[in-house]
């Protein structure tokens, strides 16, 4: 058991002095900012390019032109594409698409519902099975059966491949410090590099089709599996491992008998996050013709048809909640199901599958009770009401936050001379994390300058900081509440799941009406997407604090507030760090979506790069800048967290 209040590693006087130096830096920055405002800011117009950007364009063109002759394409990418295409197409043929000369898939809706119910029953129990059946039938009632099955096929394929790659890598990174150090930047890169940057090149490498969509999805969805698996292995208490080793267990035995079982719950959290991340990609993948619900959303939004988009978004949410609950319940210890139930279930399932193979009524979902159009109408009505009656209030709130928070921060970062900001960043890094942090930050600053997008980076940085602060505030408040109350957890969790997988543009249409195209709208979008992750991690961390400790604290006469602040939060600081880290990365992964609603800067550069050939190089550079920002902020917060937790 870790001691509750570890002694501070530094004498108080030193820390006091550091605070003074920090304050001095800020004051000096402000003074110099007043003197040198708006000079040497390295700004670059929206249509302007640097030689680097042009060079990337040329490379991109050259790769495209050599596609049909280059052996790397012919023998490497083509093989990967074939395997993945076959895999996805096979799953689609089973449940989604007309196949094998039949006008319908092999297994119709009745069969799929039965299988979903049976698998849930076998691994997760009655209640979850009921939820799964209800959820899948709901998809049919929405009038979106085929689209949902296409999305499910693609998601399953991407998740399976992610886990096949991710869990072994995660275990490796959990066991070896060197692997951890090697993988972390790669994962940062995969999670923060905006999809728009590699979407077009992907279709060049893997053609338009399921393979590209799957790969795009798994680049984004695999990192959580790896990260959280590693985290799980690492958080198994040292003395458990030592006990096992002292009993003469080999490395493998320790891994299989001690580490993996102790880490199982957390690893499943990683599986969850992978599924959620994969479903979050559904809409973006639709831009390269990925079949399924994403297409419905994208198409509806061309005419700002929020109702239709919401209906499809809701289907994604339903899929997410079912998959999430099944995997979560599968991880918890349970009494096994009696044999007769298993066999009976298998029998009924087989019958349903046979029926759905043979008869039209069981193959194609046709129902007189169609609820999709009601959902559609309801969502449209709510949106219209909000757009008509709220903008007076929301507009004022937006202006307040913009003028009080975003503008001053942005002015300081983006309107100071570049070397001044660079100096401040490096100095603060040194204070927080010593020489190492200073070196990392200096390298990141140099890279940002090299991308030619310094000022845009600073504008994005300002918005990112504001969004992350909001995420952490929400994360701590709601996370603690959920961690302390099972009931709150039960009610809030589905909302969080919905916020994580509902395609951003569905709620961005009304947000645009409420807050106009602005940086604030982008920040709100990022908070909606990133807060759930932070909240969940903190809630789990709070719950993991041993009840005995909490009881002891209460018995000693602590109030709830004291228990939270003095016991639960400090003991969950590992979770807090992870939450801040993931919150930040999720905020950064929304920078591009922000670019679609008025954030400008790096997000817009990436979007424009995806849409216009001659801006491709600039878009890629902006993508790199986002990653660099991510790495820099991540290392800084980790250094700060280490200081705080010791």
């Amino acid at each position: 058991m870790v001691a509750v209040a570890a002694p501070t590693s530094q004498p108080r006087a030193l820390q006091h002095r550091k605070s003074l130096v920090l304050a001095g830096i800020v004051v000096a920055w402000l003074v110099l900012w007043v003197l040198f405002r708006n000079v040497w800011t390295l700004s670059l117009g929206a249509a302007d390019l640097t030689p680097l950007h042009r060079w990337i364009n040329d490379v991109n063109d050259a790769v495209g032109a050599s596609r049909n002759s280059n052996p790397v394409f012919l023998y490497f990418f083509n093989e990967i594409r074939l395997v993945i295409d076959e895999f996805v197409t096979f799953v689609q043929a089973l449940i989604a698409q007309p196949s094998f000369g039949r006008p319908v898939p092999v297994i119709g809706w009745l069969g799929v519902v039965a299988i979903a119910g049976f698998v849930s029953l076998a691994v997760a129990g009655w209640r979850v099975a009921l939820l799964a059946v209800a959820g899948f039938v709901f998809l049919g009632l929405q009038g979106l059966w085929q689209e949902s099955m296409d999305t499910l096929s693609l998601t399953l394929a991407a998740v399976v491949i992610s886990l096949l790659i991710g869990i072994p890598l995660g275990i490796w990174a959990g066991l070896s410090d060197r692997a951890h150090r090697l993988l972390t930047p790669v994962l940062d890169f995969m999670q923060t590099m905006p999809t728009f940057v590699y979407l077009a090149p992907l279709t060049l490498f893997f053609l338009i089709g399921p393979a590209s969509a799957t790969i795009a999805t798994l680049i984004y969805a695999a990192p959580p599996a790896i990260r959280i698996t590693a985290h799980a292995i690492r958080s198994v208490p040292r003395n458990t491992v030592e006990a096992s080793e002292s009993l003469g267990a080999t490395r493998n035995q320790t891994l299989v008998k001690v580490l993996l079982p102790s880490a199982r719950k957390t690893i499943v959290l990683g599986v969850n996050q992978t599924i959620m991340a994969a479903l979050a990609m559904v809409t973006i993948a639709a831009l390269i013709d990925a079949p399924g619900l994403g297409k419905t959303v994208v198409k509806a939004l061309q005419t700002l048809d929020v109702g239709t988009a919401f209906n499809a978004g809701l289907a994604i949410v339903v899929l997410a909640i079912v998959l999430d609950r099944v995997t979560t319940a599968a991880a918890n210890e349970r009494r096994g199901l009696p044999r007769w139930a298993l066999f009976g279930g298998a029998g009924v399932t087989a019958v349903c599958v046979y029926l759905s193979y043979t008869y039209l009524w069981a193959a194609e979902f046709q129902s007189d009770v169609e609820i999709g159009s009601s959902i559609n109408k309801g969502a449209t009505a709510v949106t219209e009401w909000a757009q008509d009656s709220l903008p007076v209030l929301t507009g004022g709130f937006k202006d307040f936050v913009t003028f009080a928070l975003i503008n001053p921060l942005q002015a300081l970062l983006a309107e100071s001379p570049w070397f001044l900001v660079a100096l401040v960043v490096v100095a603060v890094s040194f204070l927080v994390g010593g020489v190492r942090s200073a070196v990392v930050s200096a390298a990141c600053v140099a890279l940002l300058i090299a991308t030619g997008l310094w000022q845009d980076s600073m504008i994005t940085l300002a918005s990112t900081l504001v969004a992350t602060i909001l995420v952490m505030v929400l994360g701590v408040v709601v996370g603690v509440w959920m961690g302390r109350s099972r009931r709150a957890d039960r009610v809030i969790r589905p909302v969080l799941d919905a916020a994580q997988v509902m395609p951003a543009f569905v709620y961005l249409v009304p947000f645009l009406a409420l807050f106009s195209a602005s940086r604030f709208t982008a920040i709100i979008a990022a908070v909606v997407f990133a807060a759930p992750v932070a909240i969940k991690i903190i809630a789990d961390g709070i719950r993991a604090v041993s009840p005995a400790t909490v009881e002891a604290s209460t018995a000693l006469g602590s109030s709830s507030w004291q228990t939270i602040v003095k016991v639960q939060l400090p003991m969950a600081r590992g979770a807090l760090t992870l939450a801040a880290n993931q919150g930040l990365i999720y905020v950064l992964s929304m920078v591009v979506v922000g670019g679609l609603v008025g954030a400008g800067a790096l997000g817009y550069d990436v979007v424009a790069g995806f849409s216009q050939g001659q801006l491709y190089g600039k878009g890629l550079a902006a993508g790199v800048a986002i990653v660099v920002l991510g790495v820099m902020l991540d290392r800084l917060t980790q250094a700060a967290a280490k200081r705080w937790t010791n």
Partner: protein, 320 residues
């Protein structure tokens, strides 16, 4: 005991099976699908805007009904669609807005694409204001008067200048250069998407708010709100040659069709159809309205238009 239950359940399942198959209903495969003719597969890119969808829907409808092609629609952004010419996955793009960069790359350099002529639709890009504003301040439609109103267009994003809302990054914008070279007291704010623009204009017309922004026609929103175009210094050939010094309006675009070289060379029925396809802004607006406002499926919208315009369609069909 357990064994008995298993048997029981299985036999119950079998009984259910027999009962259900008795009252079964139509079997899979009872009806066969229509056969395809010699046209083969026609891979049609669908770029993400409604006007394009209107062109594509009508073309797909004619190709399927008249020529018996198997039409595969692929929903792609422009850049990706053009890339598909080279990889053989896209046969045709049926509404192209200029895109000189893509032309240069795929038609001139890689030689994987060729132009298939005009769609007959004229495209316009420019600065637009909501109708209420044009009515109350008619002089705003001349760029010379824009500075007079700059204060009204201030927002949280534009600082002490007026906001010129740019949106869809799919098209080239000269707006930063224009603002600078015309000495306008405005700041270009990047909304970043068509959605952001449409919401801004809708909100502006409804609440009588001041908005000026980049927009284009034909676009389905113009059926709903008659946005007014602001007059910029007229376009003359070559006035946009130097991107830094542009001080003139955007040119009119003759929206055209691009097809893959292979598709054009084979000159099958679908290729001839695409080449012959030509209609008007009005035609496209009609179909776009069916899709965007009447919420019809593209297929149904195409059928409705086609039924009323049989003579136009006849002219597109390959000459036997």
């Amino acid at each position: 005991m357990a064994r008995h239950s298993v048997l029981g359940t299985v036999s119950a399942g079998l009984v259910a099976l027999v009962v259900l198959s008795g009252c079964g209903g139509a079997k899979v495969g009872d009806t066969s699908s229509g056969a395809t003719g010699d046209c083969g597969t026609f891979n049609l890119a669908i770029n993400p805007w409604v006007g394009y969808e209107a062109n594509a829907a009508v073309l797909a409808y004619v190709a399927e009904k008249e020529l018996k092609c198997k039409v595969t629609k692929k929903e792609l952004k422009e850049e990706v669609a053009w890339q598909g010419f080279g990889t053989g996955e896209v046969d045709a793009v049926v509404e192209n807005w200029g895109h000189d960069d893509l032309r240069k790359k795929y038609i001139d350099e890689q030689k994987t694409a060729v132009s298939a002529g005009s769609t007959g639709v004229k495209g316009q890009i420019g600065w637009y204001v909501p109708p209420w504003l044009a009515k109350e301040h008619p002089d705003i439609l001349d760029w010379n008067n824009l500075n007079k109103y700059a204060d009204q267009f201030k927002t949280s994003e534009s600082g002490d200048k007026g906001q010129l809302l740019d949106g869809d990054p799919s098209f080239v914008t000269n707006d930063e250069a224009l603002v600078k070279n015309l000495n306008l007291n405005y700041k270009v704010v990047y909304g970043g998407s068509e959605t952001a623009l449409i919401q801004a204009f809708r909100q502006a017309e409804k609440d009588k708010k001041w908005v000026i922004g980049y927009f284009y026609s034909p676009q389905w929103l113009l059926n709903e709100i008659k946005l007014e175009k602001v007059k910029l210094p007229p376009y003359t050939a070559g006035c946009d040659a130097d991107a830094e010094k542009i001080a003139c309006d955007y040119p009119d675009y003759d929206l055209d069709k691009i097809v893959s070289k292979k598709f054009a060379d084979a000159n099958g029925p679908a290729a001839q159809l695409v080449k012959n396809f030509k209609w008007t802004n009005e035609d496209q607006n009609t179909v776009a309205k069916y899709i965007a406002e009447d919420k019809m499926k593209p297929e149904d919208a195409a059928k409705k238009w086609a039924d009323a315009n049989a003579d136009k369609i006849k002219a597109w069909l390959p000459k036997a």
